[in-house]
Symmetry: C2
Subunit: 331 residues, 2 copies
């Protein structure tokens, strides 16, 4: 349950991670503090997959694309002969990411994400969120956000931070639901993008999705995306994988403003997943995690630091959100 | 002078343009109005050159690039032999825009805007704004914003509109000064962009400007840029040229939400410029202006509708801004 008085982070257990968050926020928001940050400089960036919601057994957008692929196959049955389509249907992400330029993944995205109007794409994502269920938890994907991170988003908002999602996922996929689910408006989403084409048709303006000028907002692309979309250096950054390493560096290394880096470490196989110190895509050690102690980044141990994992667990315990929480999310 | 009580648009003369603005705002913000817009949907987009400040004798960023070119020539004197460099030095914008892909302009931008860190570029823009003077008005370029449009920006802000600049100019050029000059934060600027390169050097993270993956945020590119950066359809759009025609269409044609389009028509050769119904780059009739009556777009006649043109005129008449204006701009 989201607390509106007292502890703003009730689903965080007492410990060094929770304390580090409180210490940083007090340092930069208390009037008269030598490290006071003017509100416009309070820019917080959050990775999404694995940081605000799970990324297993597949990133949720990949699950969407595979479900959409079934629709494409129903229309063009010959597609099943394609080895990359077979890899996608088998959920073989490693195969899709093989080779230069992630050829398989690009083919999957081209089939399922391009050639459609942005309005039609939005409707498909909305429909999918209503009907699809996570294979392990049996709930809609957007009911699986992490309650502790939802509390952190709101705690920062209350301290005049502007929260941005900075994800490798596609902006058109995320913008459909981020406002409803995180209280983050679509214009505060940085993600992977490709150009649309504008046409004025008989029924009005149409923007059609393409795969042209694809920008992959991951790894070194994240600081590039932050600069392109936000144009200010963040002061707070939360991530969980090597895809977030460069944005953690960009936020915290030699930043003239006081900054804070946080890594969500997946240590809880029972309640969520444990993939510890290994990167999901390469199998190598997660460099960001290895660098955390020397960089002063706060490492969150999910098993130890979080007493509740999913936001829906609290909603089930208390199905009617308190009225002020409601209004906060709607504004 | 910016009024804080009474008429929110004092530099607008009474007339149909001013009335149309008041009518639209009342319609979409009055509680209980059938056309009420929830605040998150109040997205206003503004062209910059020719809409918020002049674009003559050259767009101001072109004036900056030409001044920077002189610095390049001092370092590499052979550059003066290049015909495009000569065209730039002569202020021959038409020549720079000739041929496919604006080859001359791209060369000028590559010389003066690429290969530099974003921090160094920012410093050069800041310095230029302090030292450079407009050839006709003899003032710093950023002292030449239109007071009536500044009033409109603030009037919309007071009614919970989120104002975005959507300009053909470069985001890195505009973000340096938009917050100070318009009260618009850098993350609310959509413009032409190219990708930067991220590196972690010995002195910390560095983002270096390139000309790669150039996106020209003009004409049909404006709705594309709006979708990519904002991800919502605007409900209010102000422009002045054919570069803004598509974004006016995107904002107002078959928009399920009540919308408003406005065109600034340059009719005042004495106080500013008159270039009436002709496009500056092609010499053709401005299609957006021709379409205005049938589309219901409000056309502002600068000579007739504005009693003051430049924001500095009011500052000169009253050099100390009222304290609440000051604080409004700083937040």
């Amino acid at each position: 349950m989201l607390s509106t008085t007292g502890d703003p982070l009730p689903s965080w257990n007492e410990g060094s991670a929770k304390q580090a968050i409180f210490t940083y926020i007090a340092r930069v928001t208390r009037a008269g503090s030598p490290d006071f940050l003017p509100p416009p400089e309070r820019i917080a960036v959050f990775d999404n997959d694995g940081t605000l919601w799970p990324e297993h057994p597949l990133p949720f957008q990949a699950a969407f694309a595979i479900d959409e692929l079934q629709v494409c196959i129903a229309r063009q049955p010959k597609l099943v002969e394609d080895p990359m389509v077979q890899a996608a249907l088998a959920g073989d992400l490693a195969r899709l990411l093989e080779g230069p330029g992630y050829a398989g993944l690009m083919q999957l995205l081209a089939l399922t994400h391009a050639g459609t109007s942005v309005d039609a794409f939005r409707s498909r994502v909305e429909e999918w969120l209503v009907t699809a269920r996570h294979p392990r938890f049996g709930r809609p994907y957007d009911a699986l956000t992490y309650l502790p991170m939802q509390e952190l988003l709101r705690y920062l908002q209350a301290h005049h931070f502007k929260n941005f999602i900075v994800s490798g996922g596609g902006v058109d996929f995320m913008r459909v639901w981020v406002e409803r689910v995180y209280g983050i408006p679509p214009e505060q989403v940085v993600g992977s993008t490709a150009r649309t084409i504008f046409e004025l048709g008989a029924a009005g303006p149409v923007l059609t999705k393409t795969m042209d000028y694809l920008f992959v907002n991951d790894k070194g692309g994240k600081p590039v995306g932050i600069h392109q979309f936000i144009g200010r250096r963040p002061t707070l950054c939360c991530g969980n994988s090597d895809g977030d390493h460069e944005m953690l560096q960009y936020t915290t290394i030699n930043n003239p403003r006081p900054s804070f880096g946080l890594i969500v470490h997946h240590t809880d196989a029972e309640r969520e997943y444990a993939y510890a110190a290994r990167s999901t895509s390469t199998g190598k050690l997660v460099e960001a995690l290895a660098a955390a102690p020397s960089r002063g980044w706060c490492v969150v141990d999910m098993k130890q630091d979080w007493n509740t994992i999913f936001a829906t667990e609290s909603l089930m315990a208390d199905p009617v959100p308190p009225p002020d929480h409601q209004s906060e999310r709607k504004v």
